[in-house]
């Protein structure tokens, strides 16, 4: 079955070559970082985590969101998702791998990473995060592979896989919860030390993940003969809508608690994000863009007339995804460190080198995802050759592979 990933037309190979090129360019930047140290990043003694850790946080959310197709299908027997579960699982796999890579590229001594296993520290959330992420990766690889290979043979998946699927549901919740615990357990960082951090992470993940999945479905409809069906798309849209509402609600809870209580140590971080602090407003335009997108997305998603129009739905999904990416992938981590322990505002912005290294990791994720999706569609006979892709509506007589 795996060999399906290495058969394909020119268009497929062109894409793979492009992704490999991205990875290669990024790898050069990473070699530079290995050689010179993290000084090639924009990080500092005050803002000691930045873009890498933020991407990690965001991607844990994407990985966890697979549960939003798995749960309705397996627990509620929601048939319209039958073709989507593998897409969700095979989206989770590259996401988890990217998470792990982002942790590794953030390390000062990446060649010692095995120390986490050699000296297990049960009191460190980072240890638990590694455990839950690797467990989740394992579950999704096994489930995805077993279900797809049974589908290929035209038989029902083996019975023993069911418990794995059931376990993967709470496990997905756990990965993002433990990720939130990394931050919310720190008395030193008032911005993160909030009990709603984990729920907020989950809500934003369950909005951004399904939104991304809808966009992927739209794209795949262009590139392949795969069609998830109207019902599935609309259901995903509803899920994203509810999750986005809860996410915005939780953010507003934070804002109320912080500003009504008026504790300066809590307020400063929000001020840094939304109005700037000590003359530094690096993130201000971004955060307002994120808020504006969130409002636009909510208006579009909450109005059934708009949500049902696929073009508008597409825009709404982009808005949800970008809004949450800015919030988690740009603001969340840096704001925790600003102002610093000494009350200072230290400038942080990712350097080009940092960005290139991130491109390497994203590239690896894209590559894995492309290979996995290629397998899915080939097994299902849903690929379409490049020629037919152009003459859109032409019926195919022979399923290609």
């Amino acid at each position: 079955m795996l060999e399906k990933a290495i058969t394909g037309d020119k268009r497929y190979w062109g894409w793979i070559a492009f992704v490999l090129m991205l990875i290669g360019t990024g790898a050069i930047a990473y070699l530079r970082q290995l050689d010179q140290g993290l000084t090639v990043t924009g990080l500092s003694r005050d803002v000691s985590w930045g873009f890498y850790i933020a991407q990690f946080t965001f991607l844990v959310g994407v990985a966890a969101s697979a549960v939003m197709v798995v749960l309705p299908y397996y627990l509620h027997n929601f048939k319209a998702f039958s073709k989507l579960t593998i897409l969700g699982e095979f989206l989770a796999v590259p996401s988890v791998i990217m998470c792990m890579l982002f942790i590794v590229v953030d390390m000062g001594q990446p060649f010692r990473v095995q120390n986490v296993m050699l000296y297990p520290s049960l009191n460190s959330p980072m240890f638990w995060d590694m455990m839950s992420l690797s467990g989740y990766l394992f579950l999704n690889v096994v489930i995805g592979y077993m279900v797809l290979s049974s589908e290929k043979k035209g038989i029902a998946p083996p019975k023993w896989i069911k418990p794995f699927i059931i376990i993967s549901i709470p496990w997905a919740i756990s990965i993002h919860t433990v990720t939130a615990f990394l931050y919310s357990g720190l008395a030193a960082r008032p911005f993160w030390m909030t009990a709603v951090l984990a729920p907020r992470f989950l809500a934003s993940a369950f909005a951004a993940g399904p939104a991304l999945l809808i966009l992927i479905i739209f794209l795949m409809r262009k590139l392949t003969r795969f069609d998830a069906g109207k019902e599935a798309i609309q259901k995903l849209a509803v899920i994203a809508t509810y999750a986005m509402c809860i996410n915005v609600f939780l953010v507003l809870m934070e804002v109320f608690t912080t500003f009504y209580s008026g504790m300066p140590e809590h307020m400063h971080h929000f001020e840094f994000l939304y109005v700037g602090l000590h003359g530094n407003n690096t993130l201000v335009p971004w955060m307002w863009l994120s808020s504006a997108l969130a409002v636009v997305a909510l208006v579009l998603l909450l109005t059934p007339k708009f949500r049902k129009k696929e073009v508008i739905l597409g825009f709404a999904c982009i808005a949800v995804f970008v809004s949450i990416w800015i919030d988690k992938g740009l603001g969340m981590i840096v704001a925790g460190f600003t102002p610093s322990q000494m009350g200072e505002v230290v400038d942080y912005w990712p350097t080009l080198n940092e960005f290139m290294v991130s491109i390497m990791v994203w590239g690896i994720g894209l590559l894995i995802m492309s290979l996995l999706y290629k397998i899915i569609f080939t097994v299902r006979g849903e690929t379409k050759p490049a020629l037919e892709a152009k003459e859109d509506k032409k019926e195919l007589t022979v399923p290609s592979n």
């Binding site: 010179q36 140290g37 993290l38 000084t39 990080l43 500092s44 003694r45 005050d46 000691s48 985590w49 942790i103 953030d106 390390m107 000062g108 001594q109 990446p110 010692r112 990473v113 120390n115 986490v116 050699l118 000296y119 297990p120 520290s121 049960l122 009191n123 460190s124 959330p125 980072m126 240890f127 590694m130 990394l182 931050y183 357990g185 720190l186 008395a187 030193a188 960082r189 140590e265 925790g336 460190f337 610093s340 322990q341 000494m342 009350g343 200072e344 230290v346």
Partner: protein
Amino acid sequence: MGIDRRKFLTIAGLTTLTTLGKTVLGSSPAGHDPIETGSQAVKRLAMAIDMQKCRQNEGCVECTKICHKIHNVPDIGNSKEEIKWIWKENFEAAFPNQHHDLLEDEIKNNQVVVLCNHCDDPPCVKVCPTQSTWKRESDGIVMMDMHRCIGCRYCVAGCPYGSRNFNFRDPRPFIKETNPEYPTRTKGVVEKCNFCAERLADGLLPACVDICPEKALIFGNINDPKSEIRQILKSRHSIRRKPILGTNPQIYYLV
């Protein structure tokens, strides 16, 4: 001699068990007082900083100079990647919760010496995924093992005092005069004040305590009622940095 496989496994198993035990039973409740509840037999090293004496010598940085010299602390010359074990900080920065506009000028306008607080409930130790930083059972010093540190900087995020430094680059070119008796660090690991553990082993006081021209630093076993530090804490009003966080810092500031 040497660690064989069996010994390694035993150690690994025991460590896991103790950590498990500690996690399950909960270490000490936040903010407990080592003087009252700590066993008198156990040493708990601490430092008192006489701010009154220290501020008499404005601009004095003898403690920083000697400490950074003997420990091969580099002078990166760039505030973003700076490495500091002991240094002076504005009062407001060190004590954000104690600061107010009407504070006596001599306190408000003077700098205070800050260093790792060797917390009794150190959050840096709690978060470290490799036990590269740990609290020494024998005297409470919060130690670092640079051989094991993976440079994840979780401890930097967890320390509420900015005491921990990350080596963003190879520190060697930035050390003016290397002390051959003490190692340097390599890029990608975290470092901080170690209460001069290497000097204590030789029966010496920490270098900063030794050198301070004002004798403003008092060092000793806080679990010993007869120690100098206990006597002085009894007679003078002292404060600690951010005690509200429950880290139980062991650097006491005499006002």
